[in-house]
């Protein structure tokens, strides 16, 4: 019974090889020729900006918590206008495995994977990126979202001025 399976198993690989011998080769002449990865390709990480040009990252530590290899570190701080932001933000790319979990965890669309896969250095320390190195001046895959237009702490909009918010209540009134 198994004889047929075995024969098929022996012949089929030869057939596959034979068939591919007449196909065009997929190898390209990198680096002269470059492949364009799809937009959702997971390579070098960037920190994006909101449509108003502000840093999107609110230093919530979710990406660093999600990162399975612990290569993200940062320090959150408070700006004079109450904005929470990253005083510094560091990714050690020599440890990063480009799994994309950080981008998935990010509630503000700040951290995103970019398709820039050409990423190698001679020195390990050069693979350690600081905030300046990570920040780009666009919104990456989403150019619309601004987290602070939705958060209740009123940094961009006045308190109670978000789309889904009512103006602040008057605590002292007795009216129903």
């Amino acid at each position: 019974m198994n004889v047929w399976r075995d024969i098929k198993g022996t012949v089929q690989p030869f057939w596959v090889t034979l068939r591919n011998m007449f196909r065009r080769p997929v190898t390209i002449q990198y680096p002269e020729e470059k492949r364009v990865p799809p937009p959702r390709y997971r390579a070098r990480i960037i920190l994006t900006r909101d449509p108003d040009g502000g840093e999107r990252c609110v230093a919530c530590y979710l990406c660093s918590a999600a990162c399975p290899v612990d290569c993200i570190s940062m320090q959150s701080a408070e700006a004079p206008d109450g904005r929470r932001y990253a005083a510094w933000f560091r990714i050690n790319f020599s440890r990063c495995i480009y799994c994309g979990l950080c981008a998935e965890a990010c509630p503000t669309w700040a951290i995103q994977m970019s398709p820039d896969y050409e990423f190698s250095k001679y020195a390990t320390l050069d693979m350690v990126y600081e905030k300046e190195d990570l920040l780009v001046d666009h919104g990456g895959k989403d150019n619309e979202y601004n987290y602070y237009r939705h958060a209740g702490i009123g940094v961009v909009n006045p308190r109670g001025g978000n789309e889904d918010e009512a103006p602040p209540v008057d605590v002292r009134t007795n009216l129903p």
Partner: protein
Amino acid sequence: MPTITIDNQRVTVPEGTNVLEAAKKLGIVIPHFCYHEALGAVGACRLCAMTFLEGSDKGPKLKGVHMSCMVTARDGMVVSTLDEESADLRRHVIEWLMMNHPHDCPVCDEGGECQLQDMTVAGGHGIRRYRGLKKTYVNQDLGPFISHEMNRCIQCYRCVRTYQDYCGGTDFGVLGCNQRIYFGRFRDGTLQSPFSGNIVDACPTGVFTDRTYRFRARPWDLEEAPSVCPHCSLGCAVIPGARYRELQRVRAGVNAKTNGFFICDQGRFGYGHANRPDRPRSPRLGEREVSWPEALGALRRELEIIIAEHGSQAVAFLGSSRASLESNAQLLELARFFGSENFALEIDPERDRAARTTAALLGECARSQEEVRRSDFVLLVGADPLNEGPMMALAVRQAVRAGGSAALIDPRPVELPFAATHLPLSPQNLPEVLKALAEERFERFSARERTVLAGISARIKEAKRPVLIGGGNLLGSSGAQLLIEAARAFSRGDRACGAALLLAGPNSFGSALLAAQSPGPDRLLAQMQEGRIRALLCLESDPFADHPEPGRARMALSRLKLLAALDYLPTETARRCDIFLPTTAPAESAGTYVNFEGRMLPFGSVFDPGVPIQITGGGDHPPRSFEAHTPGSLPRPAWAALAALRGDSLSLAHIRRNLQRSDARFAGLAELEEGGEGRRVNGAGQMPGHGPELPKHPSAEGALRLVVTECLFGSETIASFSPVLDPVRPAPVVRLHVEDGVRLGIHDGEKVRLRTELGDLAVEVRLCEAMAPGIVVLPRLRQGEWEIFVPGVHRDCILQKEGG
């Protein structure tokens, strides 16, 4: 003891337990917000719903869905938590609570330890279905400690119940009505209660968060360990949290025998000492920073040279009440090693005697904070709990709230977070009044005083669980002795009267137990003055700043050939000593404190010492260089450094085992669990020798007695080195009785000159009614000129009008 059935499991609980607690006992945790063990149930959040299938055998028949926190467990009840009806209600309640909730988790400091987050996730609620507008509120600036973000409130009332009911604060509460309930201060401004930080722990959401820790870290990144508060003698349980080599916050730990669930703001916000940029972190010979082996070698050599020249008694050892039991024990071990009998474990002579008297006599009279909370009459004598042991004030408050009463005999205008009869008597009358109370002879007092004292004495006799609380600073050793004797005199066969003494430091009691053979700091100082002691080794002690006669101490210290110090604070002694060894701050080291009642409380190390990244990076990212060594990681636990001086390397467990083997009073120390309830020492200390007679008062015509008192946020050594507390340091004002003010022609708020034998001081005067006449109350402040006034000495002073 009712037995009830929850989800087909039977459980027997003590009378009065609610069903929510009973379920918890079975390991069934039902989401809830408003119920809190220390605050009780109010049924505000509507989340703890359970279905009651069978009512109780006795009492009203309860059926259907009810809030389990509001139902007392009764025999025969059958309850289901899994029933579809109540599970569905809980799911909906969570969704309703989230209807107005802002989109804040990423920028909310509660995130990661938020009960609301947990319950929302547990309830399976993810998408907001309600499309209406969200309610918003304007926040208040509540001062340097607390951030306010009212939009996140779920109306559980825990904050008010903590702030008003438990802590006795009056400036904060619930406002508004209808859909506009607001939790905040009645008027904008800083929260006034010295227990305000507790609303951060109590609030299950991010409405109140620790402002000193604002946007610093997430709980999952913090290094935390159960620890013991080092800021006073009560030994409250705390949980410090550190990250990136920086101590970032402290929250309350739970210890039923000490603090319960809450702590005071000094314990919570006194943490900044560990992160100071000027904290000494390297061993030093003179000005030169050296390695540990070099420093230890040099210190040992120097000590040996002095011993060879002048004999072993020429080296002295000074421990302290802020060093752990193990460190002090190792200091003794070291003294023994060098053959010296000259040691003291506290620099202030009267505090030393008071602590040793307490440790010698307290015995079975000792009462814990828990026992004070359950007492029905508390008499405070010469004790100012808010300033000398803040949580004790709350313990007494709980006793009063539960129907007990309290009275206070104290010369000072003492603020208390509860109602108490105050009898202001002058400091020299306090011993007399204790004697009089014990013997019930009040003839020597004025008519009014007699009435109050007779009332107090009657109440003590009626009470079932009376406690006398004294303050070691004002009573001194003789007063402490009289207080404990009075407690014994009030004890009868059917019930005992307890006593408690507020001592100076977290380990005062432990040091006092060890100090049995100590000649006392007075003898040490005298011998230093005479030139018989040539070398002094200070363990986390600052004789320059803490001796009540600073001039004399300075003189004596200047005669030393060698002054060596171990410390983690940049004290004057640490700066001026010849050889310096850096030790770990309390949160960085493990050890044991023995608190005011003689309870051994071990604590664990929270994080390893090192210069915080905040400092090495200058606020920006950490330096881009990688080394094998952590900068500033040299501090060692004092007990390890002291053992190393003898050429020994002992683990803490080893030290504890040795200690309990050689001294039966510390039995069980090695087995105690960090973060546990601790255990009272098993045995007493030894009485110290007598102190000098109190000077008669007034010694000069027109003189007033100067009473220097501890004050919250200003006096305690470790907290005084915490910049976090800088915004709330007490104002430098002295207080004077109105009558004296009239007599001397001094008005309230007037600036006058205070003349003492220590020196003059320009002071602002507050006139008070509720204090004894003939005294000037001056706060102990560790700043500038005020520093020379240390509690514990009785001296005269004169107030002179400026230009007069």
